[in-house]
Amino acid sequence: MTAYTATSAAGRGSTAFHASLRQRRGGLRSNDFGSDPLPCWIGRVDGLEDEPVPGEFATIDCRNNRLAWLGLQQDGFLAAAREAIARYGADRVAVVLGTSTASIGATEEAYCRVDETGSFIPSYRDFLLHSPHSLVAFVQGLLGATGPAFTVATACSSSAKVFAQAERLIRLGWADAAIVGGVDTLCGSVLYGFNALQLVSDEPCRPFDVARRGISIGEAAGFALLERVAARADAPQLLGWGESSDAHHMSSPHPQGLGARLAIAGALERAGLAASAVDYVNMHGTATPANDAVEAVVVAETFPETTRASSTKGWTGHTLGAAGIVEAVACLVALDRGFMPGTLNCTAPDPACGPQFAIDNVERAPQIALSSSFGFGGNNAVLVFGRGGRA
């Protein structure tokens, strides 16, 4: 990973994210999104209302692409991506991004303003604006990359799976570099949808707390530039990935976490590592009663006591389709800055949590970090990252 960035309620760019993590300053606020906000907490990124996308993309201007545009401009990512395109050629750079909401917020707006014939008003009639692919089309168009491009939309594992797809594309010779990541934004669909499933907490989310009451929904954009290790050997590395399905239920995890275990085992096997080599686990840790109960046991039974495990969703909220990339960046920040984030808003851990579970930040530099993402449909993805300088 020769460049990476994340923008969420916990800050614009990875330096701000790092400061929030280090200072344990969360970004959640009382819900102020929309005209009739549900009583809950959200992780909202300020300023999107006033920062449109560049004019040539006006037909697909929407909150999601605005957040993508804002995110791309942090940490010098835009320059790094353009430099890679200049170096390898536009056709050798892939764009693989995850999203669950994409531009659905714009479709929701269009439904508020249908004309007397029941059609969208003309400014909302762009086909691409209403497609899940609007994000990738925007980023690809903006950068001018013409390599393979995919939208991965597997709910909350979306922007973790993109790393696996991009790594395969590079290894099999279909690209020399890939821009991976994901963007999800606040919208009525996810706020009222998760509310309907009774998964939204009325207080800031408390991952792994015994009295946790559900998620706080957040929005985020994150990106990473993936190249072969030889491009810059001292950059942090993607060592392995694992993917699996629960084959259990659309919106509840497998009770024994079978799919999660398969994905963790697959990622470690691909990385050629034992579980004991993992210093830090960034857990999915949504703060729903079901997810955290299952995941706590999986982590307690999989990793040694010396591993530290935490959820960073208390800082960002659950950024859904962007959770994979935000938490990948949390791992990369941990590797590069030499510490391990703990868990925010958890005061009394669920007794299912093992000795790995960390509430406080740990001021020790990890060498190997693992990130778990689990989505609706029982869709699981796990990534393993290591510090640069490895072979």
């Binding site: 056709d91 692919h133 797809q165 279909w174 499933l197 993917e243 629960d246 084959a247 609706f376 029982g378």
Partner: protein, 265 residues
């Protein structure tokens, strides 16, 4: 750019006038008249009876094509990683969600919400077949068939094992139809395997030269269906498979990415 070679071990299709591979192959060979009437609601054999009744059309169409492809390949679906690709996913649920958010947002159906995810078809499929292999749900707008085919072939090359690939879209209801010009439901599926000696056409994929013209089935009904459902982009692939003769096709996988697909019996 490395060439990806796969064997097409199984084929499934479901849509207007194309109710299963034997019918579709005959139509695509010009041996049978295209009947454009809406087909019966699919009842895919691999979904449990309860799901056949209540699952949304996206799930039924994708699962119908996938069931047929797995049967032809004599493959155990529980062992196949799957790639589901769709321009719009469940656009009927998108219509429901957006309309409900305008009227009564606090009454949104929880089931419709979890069915609204783009990977709903992949999720239902993996649950019904007991498949714990990776499931991927993609979109590449109107190039979702070509992009999904590329991802499926990449996965076969990576793992050396077969995968299931399904592409589907359904009609756009309500106000969404003023932006998304989909009028018909259509799904296709392939089981793609490494190029071993078992039966099935070989398909070799490379990136085509920039500006290569894309192939489509040269028939009015096919052009009409393609205009009404982007997943019918795959008709050109199906026609080459139905002909069972050497053929080179160009298929879109992105705005500036065209695949050169070489078929050999």
């Amino acid at each position: 750019m490395s060439e990806l070679v796969v064997r097409v071990a199984g084929i499934g299709v479901y849509g207007p006038g194309l109710t299963g591979w034997p019918v579709a192959a005959a139509v695509l060979r010009g041996e049978r008249e295209f009947d454009g009437a809406d087909p019966p609601r699919p009842a895919p054999g691999l979904l449990p009876a309860a799901e056949r009744r209540r699952a949304p059309d996206t799930v039924l169409y994708a699962s119908q094509a996938a069931t047929e492809a797995c049967a032809m390949a004599q493959a155990d679906p529980a062992q196949l990683p799957c790639i589901f690709s769709s321009t719009q996913g469940d656009i009927a649920i998108t219509d429901y969600m957006c309309a409900t958010l305008v009227q009564t947002p606090r009454e949104l159906s929880p089931t419709k919400f979890h069915n609204s995810v783009h990977n709903a078809a992949a999720g239902y499929w993996s649950i019904a077949t007991g498949c714990r292999e990776p499931a991927t749900a993609l979109s590449a707008w109107t190039d979702s068939v070509g992009a999904g085919l590329l991802e499926a072939a990449i996965q076969v090359a990576d793992s050396g094992a077969p995968v299931l690939f399904a592409a589907y879209d359904v009609a756009a209801p309500g106000p969404l139809h003023s932006a998304v010009p989909f009028d018909r439901a259509f799904a296709l599926a392939f089981v793609l395997a490494p190029p071993d000696s078992a039966p099935g056409m070989r398909l070799a994929l490379r990136r085509a030269a920039d500006g290569a013209a894309r192939d489509a089935v040269d028939a009015d009904w096919a052009r009409a269906l393609r205009a009404q459902n982007a997943s019918a982009d795959g008709l050109a692939l199906l026609q080459a498979l139905a002909a069972n003769a050497p053929r080179t096709l160009h298929i879109g996988a992105g705005p500036q990415l065209t695949l050169r697909a070489e078929f050999a019996p």
